[in-house]
């Protein structure tokens, strides 16, 4: 049918036929899968959701006299030295002076061109005698600035609810007791990993659009669990594949980066991640026809704060999008946490970048590891024998 090379050739010659995931579903509904797979080359898929596994990596030039960073902070947010003048900042760590200012705010401020305050204590050795250093810097003063999203894409998520008597503030929002409400968190039919559920086109080395910048997938990410049970359409019924990506932040658009704060949980980063899926063959075209009524997820009770939580069975995202879902026979209010509006806009943005020849596809260098098992971390007390 089509190869990556042919698709990139079409992009160069302005002959590319690209649709967003939303447009693709409508196209298939109207004109059928055959016409879709023969006429359309690429479909853009995206997710604008909350991230906690986000690490900002900044590489500075050397000071005079030279310094070897020992303790560093940026705008009061503690940074981890990773070399003489390199630092890593977690997007979810807060400033010592203001808990509402986080590493995610640093990312946003850098993109907005603001000046940030760097404070460093040096190791003070013969070659690196500089003991203390302070300066103001902005994105232009940095040699390299990268973002590692270790869970840049999540294939699926759960529905969170709470059967206890008291409200719970969780990373899935405020869960009102006695199953009064519930939340779900996925861009579902727009999500790249829902549209390519077995990673037939996505792999290590795939180009990924992150907030307007072109990054790369480096492998599977945090909590990657490819063994999750799948429904009859091949979609996992809970969290499954995750992908880790690295991206240069210098060409990001701040519009797609939002530092957030979850009540009683802490700072998070909302950022847009999109992938262009090539319609290589009929099989991939079939996968791209998936809609919310064919995507299932699992309802999880957060009342017990343990690793394994009780569940209330499964439901489809089509049900969830009606705002009411039946949990334990009780009609329960339900709402999303992932912005569909921003996900759709991100699909459009990537589509335009492809049409304007600013984004080309890349063939994976190797496949995503689908054989790994999700490990647990258990306490081991006493001496290791």
């Amino acid at each position: 049918m089509r190869t990556f090379e042919e698709i990139n050739e079409k992009i160069k010659n302005s002959k590319i036929k690209v649709l967003t995931a939303l447009e693709a579903k409508n196209y298939i509904k109207e004109k059928g899968i055959n016409s879709f797979s023969s006429d359309i080359d690429v479909v853009t898929c995206a997710s604008f959701e909350m991230h906690t596994n986000a690490l900002l990596y900044l590489s500075f030039g050397q000071t005079d006299p030279m310094i070897y960073f020992q303790e560093v902070s940026v705008n009061g947010v503690p940074a981890y030295p990773t070399g003489p003048t390199d630092i890593a900042i977690s997007c979810v760590s807060s400033s010592k002076d203001d808990i509402n200012y986080s590493g995610a705010n640093i990312l946003e401020d850098l993109l907005l061109g603001k000046n940030l305050h760097l404070k460093a204590v040096g190791k003070h050795s013969g070659v690196f005698p500089n003991r203390e250093f302070e300066t103001w810097f902005n994105l232009k003063d940095v040699n390299q600035s990268r973002l590692l999203l270790n869970q840049s894409l999540n294939q699926n998520n759960i529905v969170a609810c709470n059967s206890s008597d008291n409200d719970i503030n969780s990373h899935m929002g405020t869960l009102i007791g006695k199953l009064e409400n519930s939340t779900f968190n996925s861009s579902t039919f727009l999500n790249p990993l829902i549209n390519d559920p077995f990673c037939k086109t996505i792999g290590v080395g795939t180009s990924v659009w992150i907030a307007g910048s072109r990054g790369v997938i480096v492998g599977h990410g945090s909590s990657h669990n490819p063994n999750q049970k799948r429904n009859e359409y091949g979609i996992p019924v809970g969290p499954s594949i995750t992908l880790s990506s690295i991206v240069d932040i210098s060409s990001m658009n701040p519009k797609w980066v939002k530092p957030g704060h979850i009540q009683s949980f802490g700072p998070v980063l909302f950022i847009s991640v999109a992938i262009a899926i090539p319609v290589l063959n009929k099989e991939i075209a079939e996968c791209l026809s998936i809609t919310d009524d064919k995507i299932h997820t699992t309802i999880v009770d957060f009342s017990i704060p343990r690793r394994t939580k009780p569940t209330f069975g499964q439901c489809t995202y089509a049900e969830l999008r009606t705002s009411t879902v039946s949990i334990n026979n009780k009609p329960t209010l339900t709402a999303p946490l992932t912005s569909m509006a921003y996900s759709i806009e991100s699909c459009n943005e990537l589509k335009n970048d492809i049409l304007n020849k600013k984004f080309i596809l890349s063939k994976p260098t190797s496949e995503i590891n689908m054989g790994v098992e999700l490990k647990k971390l258990d306490a081991k007390l006493g001496e290791l024998v």
Partner: protein, 156 residues
């Protein structure tokens, strides 16, 4: 407040769900003429109307007219009844209008606020944009701390 059994509470909760009237907060200014200053308003509100009151400001001196700024937390129709009752004592009641305001430039349409709006004042439209149906809003303020990007504020 008297202690209620679990069953009684459950019945009450079901009733509450049925009538779709949820607990809401209202702020009022009470102006007392000199002779009624001693009226134990908050006790009466709790006992007769199941209203939790929170005194925000008090300017009351014995034998003089006084002023009390009160936040009342209760079911919407009970609040109306209670205000009538207070007026019956010859106390002047002025409600302070409170509103929630959504900053649509900040809003990213995630939907987190919708999940706590039991009054049904928030929803996504067909383009997945947040929609605020103000007439349904009971100003319960649950959505305010829920928004991750501080797009919801209280307007007094």
């Amino acid at each position: 407040m008297t202690k209620k059994s679990k069953k009684e509470k459950k019945v009450e909760l079901d009733k509450l769900n049925e009538s779709l009237s949820f607990r809401t907060k209202r702020r009022v200014v009470l102006e007392f003429p000199p002779n009624v200053v001693q009226t134990p308003i908050t006790y009466m509100l709790a006992k007769e109307y199941d209203i939790i009151s929170n005194i925000l400001r008090a300017e009351i001196a014995p034998e003089e007219s006084g002023k009390l700024v009160l936040e009342m937390d209760g079911l919407s129709d009970r609040l109306d009844e209670a205000i009538e009752k207070i007026r019956g004592y010859g106390i002047e009641v002025t409600e302070i209008a409170r509103k929630v305001a959504f900053d649509m430039d900040k809003c990213m349409h995630c939907g987190a606020c919708i999940s706590v709006c039991l009054a049904g004042a928030l929803k996504l439209d067909e383009n997945y944009h947040l929609q605020f149906i103000e007439p349904k809003c009971t100003v319960c303020e649950m959505c305010v701390p829920t928004c991750p990007v501080d797009a919801v504020t209280i307007d007094i």
